[in-house]
Assembly symmetry: C2
């Protein structure tokens, strides 16, 4: 999407033709800096230090990390080494393993001489496919916003979103934001309520930044505020992303998503989940019982980073000394609270039948 | 309650017999400082700058502010001046106006010579009555925790609370915390989930501090986490305070309370509201339609204060430049989501009939 009028992806080839440029997301929203990766080690560090984050973008960075590895040492041993380094950065990231497997399967059959060019081509394909999937999600979700707009006679469509399922988490478009950007492009007036999304504040730090730079009207709200806004008719639709969706339509997403789904249900507000179909896990059905929830460091709750009036980026402690904190990272929204899924193949109900009908080839035998 | 073993109230007479000591709550939880007020102007500043906050404590401070005023100038004109100064500090604080009216009614009939001693006595009464009301709330709520404890065979009773309805908001005991402190005193094992309560973080800054200093086991969680904990059976009861409760039992409280009530309802977790009966507004019934919700400064969302690793207290910006924020301060939880009210006269259902039966003298004719 655009940053103050200039189009960006989150990852692209440097003008030298082989370095890999990324945005350093650790310093968002206060610094906008492009970093060039020139070795598989630098790619691994970018993933591990979360300069890049979001499953699709991690996969794309790993792909280019293997391309950089081929330039250094395209032997089987060299590729093994790079793959091990990259795989160890975020061991639970599903897309990371998937991208590395795809690179391996594409490169191993080739002679060493052919591997560099092929690796860059494969990494580019991973990126382009992600963009195409997300753009298709945008097209699939656009009619939902168009329909609301038609009812509102020119008043902005108010969309609430949680966390960052935006273009910064993907190569472009984002997932939950794709219908928003498509609607903005189509001239539909919008106002996005951006949940700040404690503890890591991906809403305030990333979603607000990308919407603002692209020119989409929005307001940041605390995570506590969305229910009140829904009670007062201030939210027309909720669109969130998903880290993992079960075959029955239960949605695992950033902690707090479930509370917004409850409020949407209580107030008759449509609650949609935008997701690339690879994040549907056809091996499980009951999200609450079967999805293990990562518990992250208490420090994400007790401390937070931001910018002082003097412009310095600092981390401060919020909680009293001696008070422990608990930090579950995700929650599960049961399918019955979800109005529908927005996938690259179109809309479907959050039910086992509807999901199986849309993705028949993926249903376990 | 206790601070590391020493008993404190939030306001008390200095050992000189006339100055008024308070805790400077603006620097909590990182600094614990006692400030002595020696004039009505200092009392007014303490209220305005939120060194003291919470309706009962504001009322008590205003009472002592009038006592300090009598020492300076006990004439009618002097009292009028002091009353006007104090009343202007937090114009919407219900208890502030109530305490000033009570002081006026007690002092005006007296000769100037008698006013100083009477004012100190009246202010002391306001404090003692608040302590008695809150202690009664604690006694009323204690059986709820005792009953859960009896079912759990020694495992801690896990209480979730939102915001700070603690002793720091009152003169002592607090409202939502009073049953917790009573249970702790009775030897019932407890673990309190403390919602940090964005944007002003009264949970993380105040509730965690007071529970920790008094020795009550607790963990700070982000406001997003409570629903997930309830889904997994990690919350036995929710107890929150209330700024205003309607005659029909709708509860206006800190923003985000409604989301926790929805989650409690969805998971069969009892959801109780502890409140001193003066906060019941018998003139209204429909909280959603009739309670105006204060919209506070966006800066409370976009900025936050805390302590650097070097020990300095600083304020930092969280959101990107140019991103607006919206900051509704309260929400309304409909009575049907409330399991019961804990008042100084005992428990009652959150219904018009039950409230009227418990407070017959206050029902409008």
């Amino acid at each position: 999407m655009k940053v103050d009028g200039v189009h960006y992806r989150t990852i692209w080839l440097n003008r030298d033709g082989w370095g890999v440029d990324i945005l350093d997301q650790t310093r968002f929203p206060h610094r906008f800096e492009v970093v060039t990766l020139r070795s598989p080690g630098e790619a691994a560090r970018a993933i591990r230090d979360m300069q890049v984050r979001g499953a699709p973008l991690i996969g794309a960075t790993a792909g280019y990390g293997m391309a950089l590895a081929c330039r250094e040492d395209a032997s089987d041993a060299g590729l093994d080494r790079a793959e091990a380094t990259l795989a160890a950065t975020r061991p639970t990231a599903y897309n990371l393993a998937w991208a590395l497997r795809r690179m391996r399967e594409g490169l191993r059959p080739l002679s060493e001489a052919d591997r560099v060019a092929a690796a860059y081509r494969l990494a580019g394909e991973i990126c382009d496919e992600d963009v195409a999937i997300n753009e298709a999600i945008g097209e699939a979700g656009l009619p939902l916003l168009r329909e609301i707009a038609a009812r509102k006679g020119g008043a902005p469509v108010r969309v609430l979103t949680h966390c960052n399922a935006g273009w910064l988490a993907t190569v472009d478009w984002g997932t939950a934001t794709a219908p928003i950007y498509k609607a903005h492009e189509a001239g539909i007036p919008l106002h996005v309520w951006v949940d700040e999304t404690r503890p890591r504040n991906q809403g305030a730090f990333l979603t607000a930044w990308e919407l603002g730079r692209h020119g989409v009207p929005h307001s940041v709200i605390v995570d506590n505020a969305g229910g009140h806004l829904m009670q007062h008719g201030e939210v027309d639709i909720v669109i969130v992303g998903s880290d993992r969706t079960t075959a029955a339509g239960d949605v695992c997403n950033k902690i707090g998503t479930y509370l917004k789904a409850l409020a949407a249900h209580d107030n008759g507000v449509p609650f949609y989940v935008a997701l690339p179909s690879p994040t549907i896990d056809f091996t499980i059905r009951d999200g609450l019982a079967e999805v293990p929830i990562e518990e992250r460091s208490a420090r994400e709750v007790t401390h937070i980073a931001g910018r002082t009036a003097q412009g310095a980026l600092v981390e401060i402690q919020l909680t009293p000394d001696g008070s422990p904190a608990l930090n579950p990272a995700f929650d599960v929204t049961p399918a019955h609270l979800v109005s529908g899924l927005i996938t690259e193949r179109g809309l479907c109900a959050a039910s086992g039948e509807a999901i199986a009908a849309l993705f028949p080839e993926r249903v376990a035998a």
